[in-house]
């Protein structure tokens, strides 16, 4: 699929899937480019990501403490909102809840697993929320990448109008969509889901062992330099393997790999900046969608020169 297409191909059976979508706080603030590009790319594939009404923060981090149920309330309340979407007919018999942010995905799915496997916990949480309808444990938390995979990467390939020919991208996974294994969406040691997506967009996928190494996560708040060191390892390795840019689905990874390049440059004179994309931005480009949904202003390292050099944008 290397020729530029002029017509939107018909995607039989996939038009107008309406699916509850959980954005999370970061996608409404510092990662608007992730949300805008993903929503637009999904729409191009005939999927409408329907933002769940009255959603609340997922809880940010899944609490591992045995008896700390209060920190699971937030996630469960969002599952009740998905039930309500079905009750009110916003969606039909659709218990899947799609997330984009890897952190939200991890928190929501971990909580869901805990309450599904522990009726007593669920009862306590339902009792605390006596004003809400009970959560029945039916919601299925899904990452956007999983949704794409279930659609079939072939379908995505069919939708590409501007193949990302010659663009060498290193997919980076981080922790949150891979670990722990019970909730992970791919092989935690050798994930391939982003590679498959990138290939369907016509890009070259560059594999590096650092793709699943932690980016430093929230250490970035207090220990900038530790995170900068991790970013240096991850990014310079990808460069060495020939990558021209990175791809991710986590706003925190994106922050640590992209924005922390400022600190990396300060401590490593040999370091060469490298753009970090949300993989959905790359979808939007390959689908030749509107410029506005790319949101490159929020990227720290401007990817536009690279894209222009490949004639992917003007």
């Amino acid at each position: 699929m290397t020729t530029t297409k002029t017509e939107t191909p018909k995607l039989t059976g996939t038009e107008n899937i309406k699916i509850p979508y959980y954005p999370g706080c970061t996608l409404k603030t510092t990662a608007k480019n992730f949300e805008n590009s993903a929503v637009a790319a999904a729409r191009a594939l005939g999927i409408e990501l329907l933002e769940i009404p009255r959603w609340n923060c997922c809880g940010t981090v899944f609490s591992l403490t045995d008896d700390d149920l209060i920190h699971h309330v937030a996630s469960v309340r969002n599952f009740i909102r998905v039930q309500e979407m079905n009750d009110y007919g916003l969606v039909k018999n659709e218990n899947r809840l799609v997330t984009l942010c890897a952190m939200c995905f991890n928190t929501l799915k971990s909580t869901n697993l805990r309450v599904k496997n522990n009726a007593e916990d669920l009862k306590k949480i339902n009792d605390l929320m006596y004003r809400e309808e009970n959560y029945g444990g039916k919601v299925e938390v899904l990452h956007f990448l999983e949704l794409l995979k279930s659609l079939g990467f072939e379908k995505i390939r069919d939708r590409v109008k501007k193949p990302l020919k010659g663009l060498k991208i290193a997919p980076y996974y981080g922790c949150m969509i891979l670990r722990p294994q019970e909730i992970g969406i791919d092989d935690p040691e050798d994930p391939t889901i982003q590679r498959d997506l990138l290939l369907s967009l016509g890009a070259d996928s560059v594999d590096t062992p650092y793709k699943r190494v932690c980016c430093g996560s929230y250490q970035t708040v207090k220990e900038k330099n530790i995170v900068a060191e991790l970013a240096y390892d991850i990014l310079s390795h990808a460069r060495k393997e020939g990558a021209e840019a990175m791809a991710t689905v986590c706003p925190l990874c994106a922050f640590n790999l992209d924005h922390r390049q400022k600190e990396v440059k300060a401590s490593h004179s040999d370091f060469e900046e490298i753009p970090v994309f949300y993989v959905t931005q790359l979808m939007a480009i390959a689908f030749a969608l509107e410029n506005e949904c790319y949101g490159f202003d929020q990227n720290y390292v401007d990817p536009r020169p690279l894209l222009a050099s490949k004639s992917l944008i003007k």
Binding site: C25, K28, T29, R54, W55, N56, C57, G59, T60, I70, H71, V73, A74, R77, L128, M129, R131
Partner: protein, 252 residues
């Protein structure tokens, strides 16, 4: 002096009289016992908490204002007989019930940030800067349960976290700043001050200037009311009073 008072002042004075003034105990058929700060008082049934407390001998200097459920001054915490739940309400709007334990919380010692909205970016970060505790919200909804205005308090705090100034303003619009949400919140969030910051930002940056206001400002600048104003300035006190009492009023 009395005859010089405007009718509106009389109405305010009338409204501020305790409802029970001048009632003879022998005319009252039904009595209830309430516990104010733990001490039992026998008061007539069918009073509000506020008037029941006044009947019992409390005189309010703080902790009361409008008596209409608008000012938020009379916040009260109570527990009903045989119920473990701590409840909240406005004393002027809540009926006293037999066996009720209650105390007034006329003031919440709450953090109130100082800021200059003209110097702040119209972004969620403004909440994190002045009220960082908003991110501690665990979505327990305790604030919503406490709100005497039946506002979805949790929803507007969540709107603040994600910078949704419009829905924050809409959902919190009827807040009377009673402080009851804040004293119940396990995350020590000062919901009503967060909401006020949000509404101020929305008013300045989000909402835009409404057309009728733009028009009126223009009229004023062009001197539409100049003559009338000059006339008023020259009026004697008596004439002014007459104009005031005969002015056009909004229908009640």
């Amino acid at each position: 002096m009395q005859e010089n008072r405007s009718p509106i002042m009389d109405r305010i004075a009338e409204a501020n009289k305790a409802a029970t003034t001048g009632i003879d105990a022998k005319d009252i058929k039904d009595w209830i016992t309430i516990y104010i700060m733990g001490k039992a008082y026998t008061v007539p049934a069918d009073l509000t908490i506020l008037t029941a407390m006044e009947y019992a001998g409390y005189k309010f200097v703080r902790g009361v204002g409008c008596r209409q459920g608008f000012c938020g001054a009379c916040a009260t915490v109570f527990r009903k007989k045989g119920d473990y739940k701590l409840q909240t309400g406005m004393a002027c709007q809540t009926r006293a019930e037999d066996g009720m334990y209650l105390v007034q919380i006329p003031f919440s010692p709450a953090e109130k940030a100082e800021y200059d909205i003209t110097k702040e970016p119209y972004e969620a970060s403004v909440f994190i800067k002045y009220y960082p505790e908003v991110t501690r919200c665990v979505s327990c909804n305790t604030c919503t349960k406490a709100c005497p205005q039946d506002l979805e308090v949790m929803d507007y705090i969540q709107a603040a976290i994600r910078g949704a100034f419009d829905s924050l303003s809409e959902v919190s619009f009827d807040c009377i700043q009673c402080g009851l949400c804040a004293i119940r919140c396990p995350a020590e969030i000062v919901q009503y001050n967060v909401a006020q910051l949000g509404r101020r930002m929305y008013g300045r940056y989000g909402q835009g200037v409404p057309e009728h206001l733009r028009k009126r400002v223009k009229e004023i600048a062009e001197g539409k009311f100049k003559q009338d104003m000059e006339k008023i300035i020259k009026c004697s006190t008596e004439e002014l009073r007459k104009i005031y009492t005969e002015r056009e009023k909004e229908p009640e």
